[in-house]
Amino acid sequence: MLTVDGLSSAYGRIEVLHGVSLDVSAGEIVALVGSNGAGKTTLLRTLSGVQPATGGRILFDGEDIGRLPPHARVVRGIVQSPEGRQVFGPLSVEDNLRLGAFRRWDDTVKARLEAVYAMFPVLSERRRTAASSLSGGQQQMLAIGRALMAQPKLLLLDEPSLGLAPLLVDQILAAVVDLKSRGITVLLVEQNASAALAIADRGYVLEVGHVVHEGAGAALLQDPKVRAAYLGV
């Protein structure tokens, strides 16, 4: 479904992705792990088109989308829940969610909205409040909910569990598995590598802008090098 081939990206003159290649097949959960500054966020930003690629190709469903503007990628089904939540602060919780459906405005919006509220009841309680006044974790829920409103084909999650209570982390991971069962493909960046790899079909390990390991989720979990570097055991 998604083929990334030799992707490079830079901030100014400093290149931070040096020819990253990876594949995501339809219906898979693929986890991406790596330490602070490895370039995970940069990779997702480049996939969404908010960060220019300086080299390489991005194929989505066989189409080269590397030059498309971000909104065109959303139309094709690539949706991201970004790092640092990035909610629309002054807008209400509900408006944030509606805007998530900006490119998928149809009869099912209401149902989708209710589904998000069902998943995160606290958002429903505070639907009229400005997003900026939510707690950190609540904003994280909102960012995920907003991404789901777009009916993604490929969902890019950048540290979705960041700042969430353990109970909710479990719930989010369960939800990811559930998305997969509904045919949605997920590319998951997580610091909680063991949890991410545990639910992932496959995983990639990124180190300073290079893919250094790849394999089945379970296999990576057992890999001693990965365990030492990222799982801390």
Binding site: Y11, V33, S35, N36, G37, T41, E83, G84, V122, S133, L134, S135, G136, G137, Q138, Q140, M141, E159, L162, G163, L164, A165, P166, L167, L168, V169, D170, Q171, Q191, N192, A193, S194, A228, A229, Y230, L231, G232, V233
Partner: protein, 262 residues
């Protein structure tokens, strides 16, 4: 020795009781953790204690003095420093400068002296720089010293905030989710750092959702839910509290927590 004492603190936002009568106290050298579901009021509690929000009720006593109405910048003077859940980095300054600003209190030169660049200013700059460099090394960011903070990745910025807070030489250090965005190995480094700080005699108040970290390092844990105290006690006791498991930890979280102490 009790350094920070909070009594019956409360605040409401348009009818929402974000913090609702919370009391606790912390001693020097202790790691005191605050956990609880998202929106429980943990960050708000920090904002109250550091004077960013004005408390609707209650009292805050720092080192024996009532500081309930004291302005934020004066609280530092009395030994309180913090980090922020929503990063408050000086994005246009370098990492080193960020930490140097943290040392502001110790800088005794006046605006006028600064303007005239009296010799004392140069001496002060040298001292501040050395101290900031030392702290950057301590949090493992020395190699980023001259990088503009805005260009650094999230996880690194979390540590930069700790270094900046430490530069103020606090007696009480409030950390809001310092391990967020860090992987297990990086979290261990933070774990060690906090341990060291506490051993240096600083009272550390920690908000964190990483149960392994909390359970391992805390002397006592306060659990908040809906702005109120749900439980308080040593980690061992809190993590097996059924109410805490139901409201916060969940089965998996409880297992994680167990493993940490395991």
């Amino acid at each position: 020795m009790t350094i920070l004492q909070v009594e019956d603190l409360g605040i409401t936002f348009g009818g929402l009781r974000a913090v609702d009568g919370v009391s606790f106290q912390v001693s020097l050298g202790e790691v005191f953790s605050i956990i609880g579901p998202n929106g429980a009021g943990k960050t708000t509690l920090f904002n109250l204690v550091t004077g960013i929000y004005r408390a609707g009720r209650g009292r805050i006593v720092l080192a024996g003095e009532d500081v309930t109405r004291v302005a934020p910048h004066l609280l530092v003077r009395r030994g309180m420093a913090r980090t922020f859940q929503n990063l408050q980095i000086f994005f246009r300054m370098t990492a080193l400068e960020n930490v140097m600003v943290g040392n502001h209190l110790a800088e005794r030169t006046s605006f006028l002296a600064d303007l005239l660049s009296l010799p004392s200013v140069a001496r002060q700059n040298v001292r501040t720089r050395a101290r900031a460099m030392e702290l950057l090394e301590r949090v493992g960011l020395a190699h980023h010293a001259d990088t503009t903070a805005g260009d650094l990745p999230y996880g690194v910025l979390k540590r930069l905030e700790i270094a900046r807070a430490l530069a103020a030489d606090p007696k009480v250090l409030l950390l809001d989710e310092p391990a967020a965005g860090c992987n297990a190995v990086e979290t261990e480094a933070i774990d060690r750092l906090i341990g060291q700080i506490a051993r240096d005699g600083v009272a550390v108040v920690l908000i964190e959702h990483d149960m392994k970290l909390v359970m391992k390092i805390s002397d006592r844990v306060l659990v908040l839910a809906h702005g109120r105290r749900l439980a308080e006690g040593p980690p061992r006791q809190v993590r097996s509290d059924p109410a805490v498991i139901a409201a916060y930890l969940g089965e998996h979280g409880a297992r994680e927590a167990d493993r940490a102490h395991g």
